[in-house]
């Protein structure tokens, strides 16, 4: 408690320096938060598009209506399946042909009947999907199964690269932020060298000298993190409608903000970052 009050006294006595410090740290952490937000949305995109979303079960020509219905019913009961819809050859022709008059005039028997499965997002990974498709393929009324794994694998790969890039950028910015915090605390220390000198002179133990600076670094870091998240949140709210229309139309998802858990982690991380940066600065400057 005494350490905190001494740290607060340091903050009060150099309010202007501390405000500049918090602003600098907030700017650095804002970049980290933006990278984290990008990573979060890429993650959401990955969950939305990277996982297998649908599966097409091609029915054999001699499948009876009872068999088809029994199969559809059985498939819709699977935990990985959200919906199972029977598509007749005529419907398949209409979907494939679209505005093409030639295809539209082709015989319906050329288009196999299918059961289109919509899968539960996140419930099906590649291995489970392979097992599922293999089981379905062995059924009598089924001629083939399409899992679109090639496409999802490609999407997964692109999104993984995006996530990795966001992670690397976040890490680089994090290191920069740590350097910023360290230098900021060092500046603060420089302004308070007389105080440190006096403390050492009157026999303060090294921990007594260091502890308020570490607490101050933690306060600085967490304060900067709060400001950064607040700034990012304000910008997010401001541009949300524009992002909604873009992401909803192009990607079929709504933009997401950092979760409460992430925000708490970010503020705690900011405090840790501040304390670490402070420890680095203090170690270099206070050889007590």
């Amino acid at each position: 408690m005494k350490v905190l009050s001494r740290a607060m006294r340091g903050v009060r006595e150099h309010v202007r320096t501390q405000l500049v410090s918090v602003a600098t740290v907030a700017l650095a952490l804002f970049c980290v938060a933006a990278a984290a937000l990008a990573a979060e949305n890429v993650g959401e995109l990955s969950r939305r598009w990277g996982a297998p979303m649908r599966m097409t079960v091609y029915l054999s020509d001699h499948a009876t209506a009872e068999q088809i219905e029994a199969l559809r019913s059985a498939l819709s009961g699977l935990s990985e399946v959200r919906a199972a819809r029977y598509v007749t050859p005529s419907e398949a022709r209409a979907v494939v042909a679209g505005d093409d008059a030639v295809l539209a005039s082709a015989g319906a028997e050329l288009f196999p009947a299918t059961i289109e499965l919509t899968l539960v997002p996140g419930a099906t990974d590649r291995a489970r999907l392979s097992v599922l498709s293999e089981r379905v393929r062995r059924l009598n009324a089924v001629s083939d199964v399409e899992t679109y794994q090639g496409i999802t694998a490609q999407v997964q790969s692109i999104l993984a690269s995006g996530r990795l890039a966001a992670g690397v950028i976040a890490l680089v910015i994090l290191l920069c932020a740590m350097a910023v915090v360290s230098n900021t605390v060092r500046l603060s220390l420089h302004a308070r060298m007389r105080e440190v000198e006096v403390l050492r002179l009157v026999g303060a133990a090294p921990s007594y000298v260091r502890s308020p600076f570490l607490a101050e670094g933690a306060l600085l870091g967490s304060g900067g993190a709060v400001v950064a998240v607040a700034l990012l949140g304000a910008l997010f709210v401001l541009f949300r409608s524009r992002m909604d229309s873009f992401m909803g139309g192009a990607l079929g998802m709504r933009p997401v903000f950092l979760s409460g858990f992430m925000i708490a982690g970010f503020v705690l991380g900011g405090a840790g970052l501040g304390a670490t940066g402070s420890a680095l600065a203090v170690r270099r400057w206070l050889k007590v």
Binding site: R194, E195, R200, L201, G203
Partner: protein
């Protein structure tokens, strides 16, 4: 036979646990034994300095600028370490203290500097109280002892003032209050009047005299001859070219005018002697 291990004999003095060796009370408060301090190999600052200071003494250390007065004091409060020799404080070799023990040594030494070394944005009270706070004293004790110290230096009732608004003389009084507030065994004064006008300088010297009269050992470094002449009754050590010369022992019994003459002559003689090739 090597040199006896001082640490083994006085191992419990100035330990973090706060235990003190009782026998330390009967030893000279400060002994410099063959002390050598070198910053530049071709010009040692101190060359085999031998000096013993007994409890309750008031000792002036003088010499030209750069002679090593401040270095000598720094060796005592372990801001610097000796290159050769020993510095025994209450019988304990300071050079052999662990870094963890150094703060405990400093709590037993009051130091006053030419530039006061006050924190300008702290109040007078805070600047004095810090010496007790670092030792973890309770607030009630701190308040009463700081009030007493401020009263001793003539600043009673000024605790709330910011250090930065005080005059030079008042700032130095605050520094003296900080040095005496935890009743240290010795006070080191490094040119404490260097930034003050002659009248204030004598005023501050008077303050140190009062502190000394209450039994505290004072080691007062100055090159101000007026101060040396003002207090001819005190022992005078001259440092020149890295060596110490005992310029005079206590002159308490001598009259004022004669003592002043003697003081002047002693300083001149000692400096001249120090410059002779040995």
């Amino acid at each position: 036979m090597g040199r006896p291990r001082i640490g083994a004999q006085f191992g419990r003095a100035f330990r973090p646990e706060g235990h003190f060796d009782r026998s330390a009370a009967h030893k000279p408060i400060l002994v410099l034994d063959g002390v050598v301090k070198v910053f530049r190999a071709d010009a040692p600052v101190l060359r085999r300095v031998d000096l013993t200071i007994e409890r309750g003494e008031f000792v002036f250390v003088t010499g030209p600028s750069g002679a090593g007065k401040s270095t000598l004091l720094k060796l005592v409060y372990r801001s610097e370490t000796v290159d050769e020799g020993r510095v025994l404080f209450c019988g304990r070799d300071i050079a052999r203290l662990t870094p963890e023990s150094v703060p405990f040594l400093r709590r037993n030494i009051g130091v006053v500097f030419q530039d006061f070394k006050l924190v300008p944005y702290w109040s007078v009270f805070e600047n004095v109280a810090v010496a007790l706070e670092v030792a973890g004293m309770p607030g009630r004790v701190i308040r009463s002892r700081v009030a007493l110290a401020l009263e001793r230096v003539g600043l009673a009732g000024r605790g709330e003032d910011l250090a930065s608004v005080l005059s030079g003389g008042e700032q130095q009084r605050v520094a003296v209050a900080r040095a005496i507030v935890n009743e240290p065994a010795i006070i080191l004064a490094d040119e404490p009047t260097g930034n003050l006008d002659p009248v204030l300088a004598l005023d501050i010297l008077g303050l140190f005299e009062e502190i000394h009269e209450s039994g505290t050992t004072v080691l007062f470094a100055t090159h101000d001859r007026a101060l040396l002449e003002q207090s001819p009754q005190h022992r005078l050590i001259v440092i020149d070219d890295g060596r110490t010369i005992e310029a005079r022992k206590g002159l308490r019994a001598m009259g004022g005018a004669l003592a002043a003459q003697r003081a002047q002559r002693d300083v001149d003689d000692a400096v001249a002697t120090a410059r002779l090739p040995l």
